[in-house]
Amino acid sequence: MVLIAVIMLYPFWVMIGTSLKSEAQFLSGGGFSWLSWKNLTATIPVGQEVLSSTIVCTASILIILAVGLPAGFAFAKLRFRASTVVFLVIVSAMMVPLQAILMPEFVNVTKLGLTGGYLGAIVVYAALGTPFSVFLFATYFRGVPDELIEAGIVDGLGYFGALWRLVVPIAIPAIATVTVLQFIQIWDDLLVGLLFIQNTSERPITVGLAVLAAGRTTSIPELMAGSLVSALPAMVVYLVFQRYLVKGLTMGIDR
């Protein structure tokens, strides 16, 4: 068990160890220095990049929730004509990898003029995250008794009121699951940020790191320091909300 723990902690050890060396010390193997951390912001615009990541993540997740909650409610409780078929189509979109539709997607989003700022990436992340959130919310809401919604309707709510004042508060755990999973996914993603945010000064941190790394000219200790910074938020979210993550991954099969 300890051995496995060592292996799983290896990335952190590498990141921490390497980042606490200067470029020269890294090449020669020994030593300790804060130099890389001091130079970090000069080499990598960490602050700007973390901000970009945060903006993109937050906006995408808000859209995913705003779109997924009503849709999940509709598919679970307000079934309309052909809703089962539509639901299946949306859910099967979960299986479509972005790469499969990358070219038309890129051209479309560019033509819409969205690749300049954050908008293109936000929309694409939202579209990619929606099927899962619809699926998860619909599954969750199926477990909510019909009578609860009906009680609200008899108490005077319309469908929108029922969604906003009953369904959403009850769905807090599911909302947390979607948020955590999507946060980690979007924060850690490279492809969308790389292609759909053309303006280099608005790059998310993951993209910034990858581009520098692929360029192979940046000092590795500084790269590692940047990596650590980029990994931190997702790790914190992960450690705090671990149980929602597990729940989301196994949604639908562990009942």
Binding site: M1, I4, I7, M8, Y10, V14, M15, T18, G29, I63, A71, A74, K77, L78, F80, R81, S83, V89, I90, S92, A93, M95, V96, P97, Q99, A100, I101, L102, M103, P104, E105, F106, N108, V123, V124, A127, P131, V134, G158, Y159, I184, D188, D189, L190, L191, L194, L209, A213, A214, I220, M224, S230, A231, A234, M235, Y238, L239, V246, L249, I253
Partner: protein, 306 residues
Amino acid sequence: MSVVTINGTTPIHRRGRRLSLRRRRQVAGFLFALPAIALVVGFIGVPIGQAVYYSFTEWNGLTSTWIGASAWTQAFHNSNLWTALQNNALLLLAVPFALGLPLLIAMLLHQRVVGWRIFRSIYFLPTAISWVVLGLVAERFFAYHGTLNSLIHAVGLTHVSTNMLGYESTALSALGITFVFTMIGTNTMLFLTGLATLDPSLEEAARIDGAGRWRIFRSITLPHLSRFIQLAFVMTVIALFSALFSLIFVMTGGGPGYATTTMEFLIYQTGFDQGAFGTAALYGLILFVLTAIVGVVQLRLIGSEE
């Protein structure tokens, strides 16, 4: 009823009369689902259709010329496609490890030894890290001055040195190993959840009946986990087809040569490095079909169970 009331409420009443209660529920349902439908159709559905169209064209993103079926025959004569497909196929060899190791780890954690919660958190922690970062770290691990060589030297083989990412023969293996590492957290999590739903009294009953550890694992634990293993399998294969991009991008850039170019990376290269949007769209369709097959197989498996 006063005139005022009639004047004031007639339109509302009229609308109320026309729409029956059920109809109103359905309309609300449809409206609620509409944004999701629009987003998915607009940004996933439509591009699939476009990809089909453009796969028959020569396309640079702005203008396209129809070249018909010959686009497909040309593509299949391109050796890069076959290399990429072969790389994907070879990487499938990593799947048993990406499932087997997490299964073992989950079994270990399931013993609930002292401090298992801490170990669990540690084992899952890399799940939160971007594959970009993990790729960077893996590069360090496999590099000439990296950890792997230090380990080899430490066990006494001082004259042996590797540089797995530097050679066509070994780069793909290095990528596969990294992939296995990155999947450990998620799959362990899945299996552990599966094990937690296993009724412990079953195991005890089997033990009382005189079944050994292996017997118990074979006839109780494994069958119980089958749904979870299926899910992990599908998720792993899909990740293999569509999530390696970050690793490849930072570790090898697809090389050396085309040694680590998988389908998804080939799509990126063809489209964005060579500007052959049409061909890239075509490759995308091939990837789509491959993942669809996995999805259908999965549905079949679930279907046959129920």
